[in-house]
């Protein structure tokens, strides 16, 4: 860039002068070139500095945004219901212990620490943990629980005072991860156990509290150690550098990247306090892999490896977490337990030599096992099918990114005990059915749902025979003909016209042939191939007679029956063919639950709910899914139908169920079977729970089972293992019960042999006396009823 000076043209000059001149010229040129060189250099330097500054500013911005912006995408956490404890609660010891196991509580000689429990026969002392419920934070406390055979008898507090009500924390049943499947349980600096922090510093970064983000001495030391060893044996990265490294999603190892990391570490250290950096590190560090889910941070790692919160870890477990920092996959305690133990013991040795722990502590810790949780790392049921339901509901109301990153807390209605029992009943019973009935192995599939009657809360969902498979969710998506499950809607339609129909109205169970809209004739028949002549209405339903039902339905009108179905919550359009009266209506199991919930709740429909509350990460309520009811059908006819459905269990097509339940549990229900035994259904309820089971084959071939021989057995197994409130239905004010002579259908007296009490809508009960009831005691009894 230095310019040559050009000689003046046509001018003679003395050589000296010339020389002098030329020398001066040279000097001048040299000076010029020097100064231009300097300015060039300066310019360069300036540019370089500018570039550097811009680059540093860029790095600084990156550091800042990574650190302060959305540092951690925290998936939404899904919780099951919190177990309510109160005197008289129908919770057995076994169930309670299962709950404790689910929550990761440890059995101890005395329950001193939160998350521990002790037992002395029927007495359980539990030290609960602090938990953020939807209605605020509740601190941990000691509960002294006494169980009897019937359930929880009493609750005392630490000082022996009686408690009316307590609850366990809600068990976590799942999370909603973003696509890259990072998961975390955020911890705050103050939550980090002191020993963990000490161990981290001693093992990973001794000068953490004094360096400026990078520790040159440590780097040199590591280089020397690696050089002498001929391989990488030591790392010189500070915790700050390790944290920066985790900000990147790839694990590229170039010099450029290393330099960048060092610069960013310096910036980070300049900008933030040591505590902030440590907290970020504790939440960011990658510590393992659970299938496709990446385990980040000590909080989640503690739950993942030990099934308990970080604060409850002892020395050897904390040491294992610190050991994992160096290589979660290489030291994976599940796959390489020896390697992991060796590394953990090394951590313990370091802590001992640096005087953090005593020799005795070290020895005790080294002598203990890895302490990782066993059994495929899962207890309780599988929640795929239930979570699927929750997810569908959430996706209607929330954006995907909010669900995967905002750390929302979703409180659901799942009852882990009911879920587990439902899963067991399904898989065990289907295997038994295949064996016992010589059906092809492994072909039967099934679905089941349990819900609360009055509030419509979904307690359990089984989407298939193998609940661990998160595949086709039959409970929500298998839309199959419901067969005789539809009949209650037909009979309810009749009972809603009390002037025309009551439970004793005679129906004709005789063959019938109906012209279908297409011109073809439809000729239904009974399951036993016979017709039964004139039968009372209640018997036609109890014994599930097809002919009587079709005749009744045709008299009522298909439109009216469809209207009843709609009122009971069936939203899917129903084709108005006569065959709909026998169940040519296809519904999913969950739709059937809604339909039967309205019946079970005395005509009041509550939309099924799987979610109660959604909270923000800070504990503010974002949304409540409230309890709502709507009167779908009048209470009187609903009660009469319920009475009839109890008869189905006591003496009808569901008699087999009697072996599972006590009579006072007053189970009501209906079997359903479709053509060629393709679908086997049972829908039923107690006073407090309604449940539906479907059994069939995915290829829609014959399952070889009726509703009674298949689904009913699963239902019995399942509901026999969960607590059911006794008592059946509540009699509404519009209903009277009258002793009726079965022969004449008139009021009976004591002398009448074939007499039974039937419920009637008030004003439609028989008023005249039967011949057997005239005078005497009969008169007296009648007086009683009036």
């Amino acid at each position: 860039m230095v310019k040559k000076s050009t000689p003046a043209k046509g001018r003679k000059k003395s050589p000296v002068k010339k020389r002098r001149k030329s020398r001066g010229k040279k000097r001048a040129a040299r000076t010029a070139s020097k100064s231009s060189f300097i300015s060039m250099l300066l310019g360069l330097l300036f540019l370089f500095a500018l570039g550097g500054a811009v680059y540093m500013a860029y790095l600084d911005q990156t550091v800042k945004s990574k650190f302060e912006g959305k540092r951690w995408a925290v998936p939404a956490r899904i919780y099951g219901r919190a177990l309510e404890l109160y005197p008289g609660a129908p919770i057995t010891q076994k169930q309670f212990q299962a709950e404790l196991q689910q929550l990761g509580y440890r059995k101890a000689a005395t329950a001193k620490q939160p998350g521990t429990w002790s037992q002395d026969r029927g007495r359980h002392v539990v030290h609960t943990r602090e938990f953020d419920f939807w209605d605020g934070r509740k601190s941990g406390t000691v509960l002294d629980l006494r169980f009897s055979r019937n359930g929880l008898k009493s609750i005392l507090d630490r000082k022996g005072r009686k408690q009316a009500l307590a609850r366990m924390e809600a068990p976590q049943i799942g999370s909603i991860y973003p696509t890259h499947k990072e998961d975390r349980v955020l911890v705050q600096r103050s939550d980090l156990p002191k020993m963990l922090v000490l161990a981290l510093m001693e093992v990973e970064d001794r000068t953490f509290n004094t360096h400026h983000g990078v520790d040159p001495k440590a780097i040199l030391r590591a280089m020397w150690a690696n050089l002498t060893a001929g391989r990488v044996v030591q790392g010189g990265s500070t915790l700050t550098q390790q944290l920066v490294k985790n900000f990147y999603l790839t694990s590229e190892r170039t010099l450029w990247r290393k330099g960048n990391e060092a610069l960013m570490a310096l910036l980070l250290d300049a900008r933030y306090s040591k505590d902030e950096i440590l907290e970020a590190y504790a939440n960011e560090i990658y510590l393992g892999q659970d299938g496709s889910r990446a385990i980040h941070g000590f909080g989640l790692a503690s739950h993942f490896y030990f099934r308990r919160p970080l604060q409850e870890l002892d020395l050897p477990r904390l040491a294992l977490l610190v050991a994992l920092v160096r290589g979660p996959s290489y030291y994976d305690p599940y796959r390489h337990p020896k390697r992991a133990k060796k590394r953990r013991d090394l951590v313990l040795d370091i802590l001992h030599t640096r005087g953090v722990i005593s020799k005795k502590q070290r020895q005790a810790a080294v002598g203990s096992g890895l302490g990782i949780s066993k059994k495929g790392r899962k207890v309780g049921g599988s929640y795929h099918a239930f979570l699927d339901l929750v997810r569908r509901q959430l996706q209607r109301d929330y954006r995907q990114e909010d669900l995967t990153s905002e750390g929302l807390r979703v409180f659901t209605t799942l009852d882990p005990w009911a879920q587990k029992q439902a899963e067991l009943a399904m898989s065990q019973r289907l295997t038994r059915l295949e064996k016992g009935r010589k059906l092809p192995r492994g072909k039967l599939e099934g679905a089941a749902i349990i819900a609360g009657v009055e509030a419509g809360e979904v307690l359990a969902v089984v989407g298939g025979r193998d609940p661990s498979v998160a595949g086709f969710n039959r409970a929500l998506d298998a839309i199959r003909p419901i067969g005789s499950l539809v009949k209650p809607a037909v009979y309810l339609t009749a009972l809603m016209q009390p002037r025309r129909y009551n439970l004793l109205t005679p129906l004709e169970d005789e063959s019938i042939s109906i012209k279908q809209p297409g011109g073809k004739r439809w000729t239904p028949s009974n399951y036993d191939g016979k017709s039964h002549g004139e039968v009372p209405l209640h018997e036609a339903l109890t014994k599930s007679y097809n002919l009587a039902t079709v005749r009744l339905g045709m008299d009522l009108g298909l439109g009216k029956v469809a209207k009843t179905l709609r009122a009971l919550g069936v939203e899917r359009p129903v084709d108005l063919f006569p065959s709909m009266l026998l169940g040519a209506v296809s519904l999913s199991p969950i739709e059937v639950v809604q339909f039967y919930q309205a019946i079970a709740a005395g005509g009041f429909r509550s939309p099924l709910r799987a979610i109660r509350e959604v909270l923000t990460a800070d504990g503010d309520t974002l949304q409540r899914y409230p309890l709502t009811v709507k009167q779908a059908v009048p209470a009187g006819p609903a009660y009469l139908l319920n009475w009839n459905l109890q008869q189905v269990v006591q003496q009808g097509t569901a008699r087999r169920l009697a072996k599972y339940f006590r009579p006072e549990q007053k189970i009501a229900g209906k079997t359903g079977t479709t053509n060629d035994l393709r679908d086997s259904w049972f829908a039923g309820f107690s006073a407090d729970k309604v449940a539906v089971v479907w059994v069939g084959r995915d290829d829609n071939k014959s399952a070889g089972l009726t509703g009674s021989s298949g689904a009913l057995e699963v239902w019995g197994d399942m509901m026999g293992r969960v607590s059911l409130a006794p008592g059946g239905q509540m009699q509404p004010e519009q209903v009277v019960r009258v002793l009726v002579d079965k022969n004449s259908g008139l009021r009976a007296g004591k002398k009448c042999r074939a007499a039974e009490i039937y419920p009637f809508i008030m004003g439609t009960e028989p008023t005249r006396n039967a011949p057997c009831a005239s005078g005497g005691v009969g008169q007296f009894l009648r007086g009683l009823f009036e």
């Binding site: 109160y86 409540r624 409230p626 008592g727 009699q731 004010e733 519009q734």
Partner: protein
Amino acid sequence: MNRLIIITTLALTILLVGCSGGSGYRDPAPVTSGQDGGGSGAVVSAYQAPRSLEIKPTYSSPVEELLRLSKQQQGEGNTVAAVASVERALRIEPRNAYLWNRLARLRLEQGQGSRAVELAAKSRSLAGADNQLKADNWRLIAKVRQQSGDTAGARRAVHEAVLLGE
């Protein structure tokens, strides 16, 4: 007044348990007929108060505790929490008519009239012999109808309440 209802129902429950000897149904006899909604006006019956109910609200101690909490939350102006506490109580005693009534009252306070009416209807269907509670549900329904301009409907609902001895 709520305490009065609780005491009355408790007394009735004890009386009934004593009378029925603990076995299922005893005898029929409701007070009024006519479906809910009160479209056709009430029919006065000669029967005495009904006595046949299967599951009684027992007002167990946890439910009392939650009711107390709910009232406290309501007093603090936090009706959202008050609703959540009643719902929690309903999980323990799903057929306690008084709890459904409480929920209806809270919904009314929140300005959710139609929801309140449905809850009151549910409460009424479970109220059995508790005429005072049934009348309160009718009064709530009357109020909502009045607010929505259905004066005739409101009058009918008030009439139902009066018939129940209010």
